[in-house]
Symmetry: C2
Subunit: 203 residues, 2 copies
Amino acid sequence: MFVNYPNGKRFIPRTKETEARVKNIKNNSFSNRGMTLEEDLNESNEYYRNIKMAVIHKKPTPVQIVQVDYPNRSAAVIKEAYFKLASTTDYNGVYKGKYIDFEAKETQNETSIPLKNFHQHQIDHMRDCLAQGGICFVILRFTRFDQVYLLEAKHLLTFWDRMTNGGRKSITKEEIEQFGHYIPLGFQPRIDYISIIDMLIFS
Amino acid sequence: MFVNYPNGKRFIPRTKETEARVKNIKNNSFSNRGMTLEEDLNESNEYYRNIKMAVIHKKPTPVQIVQVDYPNRSAAVIKEAYFKLASTTDYNGVYKGKYIDFEAKETQNETSIPLKNFHQHQIDHMRDCLAQGGICFVILRFTRFDQVYLLEAKHLLTFWDRMTNGGRKSITKEEIEQFGHYIPLGFQPRIDYISIIDMLIFS
C-alpha cells in the first residue's frame, strides 16, 4: 500500500528561509502564523513534555525502505523508499497514566470536513483503542477561519458509520460545533487540547 | 543526528527466500525459529490486537527525508533519506486503559546486556513516562540461549544511573534474572509479555 504522501501533499524539506519566515510570523500574534496544524501540535506536545504534564509524540512517517547505500560505516543513505499508509493514528502518549491517541486533520473547506481525510485502518484503530479504554479523539482545523476543534472518537465513528450506511461523506461544520469542543489558540501551548481532555475525562 | 541504522545493524530488505525460510522454521518448534526479537514482538502484538486484548504497535523507523521524486501523481519515490535516532522507545499502546511503553533489545553476549544498547533520549523518555504513570519496561533477549526477560524501567534506570555514576556499563545476566521476569516462549502469542504486566500491575 504505497501512497503519494499523507493527504496527497508534496514533501517540501524545510529550508533556512522557511524556518526564518516561520520564526518571524511566530513573533507577531497567536493566530494565522502560517504554521501547519502538525507544527502547532508538535510545539504543544513539546511544551507538555517540558513542563512534565504529558508525554505525547507524533509517530514517524511510515516508510517502506527498498534500497540502502553504505558509502562508509557511519553514513547509511536510503536511496529508494516509498511512503506507506499509516496503520494507526499519528499521535499517542500518556497523560495521568491514561493512554492518549489522536489524529489531526486540517481542511481548506469552509463548511465541512470530508471523511476521506481518514482511512479505514485509522477508524479501526480508534475503535480498538476505545474498546481498550484509551482516550481517543481527532483534532480538526478549519484553516480559513483558523478554528480548531477536538472531536471525541465516538462521534467521529458515528459520522463514519453514517457514511458507510449511505449517508453524507463529510461532517458538517455545524455538527463539529455541536459535538466537538472548540480549542482557543494560545501562545504556550499553542493548541491546549489537554485542557479539553481534563474537562471531559478528569473532572 | 543521523545514524547508520538502529543498533548499527545493516538494513536487509526481506526477500521471498527469507520469508520462506522463516515460515519453515516457524513450523518446527517454539524456540530458535530464527526470527528476530522484533518479528516475534510484532507477531505477539498482532495476536493481542486480533483477540482484542491490547492495542500495541511498533513505531515506524524514524527517517529524515531529503529528496522525493514524483515520476507521476500516484507514486512518490524517496530518493535520499537518512536514519534518525529515535527520540522515544519503539513500542507503545494501550492495555486496560493504561499506557504501555517499552523498548526491545537482543544481545549475542552470554553474560550481560551492554547499556550502550540504549541511548540517553530513550532513558529520558522512560523516566518521563513513568512520572506520568505509564507502564514502562524493556524486553531483553539473550539470543544464544533464546531467553527473554521483561525488566521494569525502574530497574533499568537504576542500572543506568549506576553507569553514569562510574559503575559498570552493562547489566549482568544474574541481575536480569534477579530483577527481571522470565517470559517462557509460546506459540500464540510468541512472547506473552502482557501476562507479566497482568501479574505486576493488575493482580
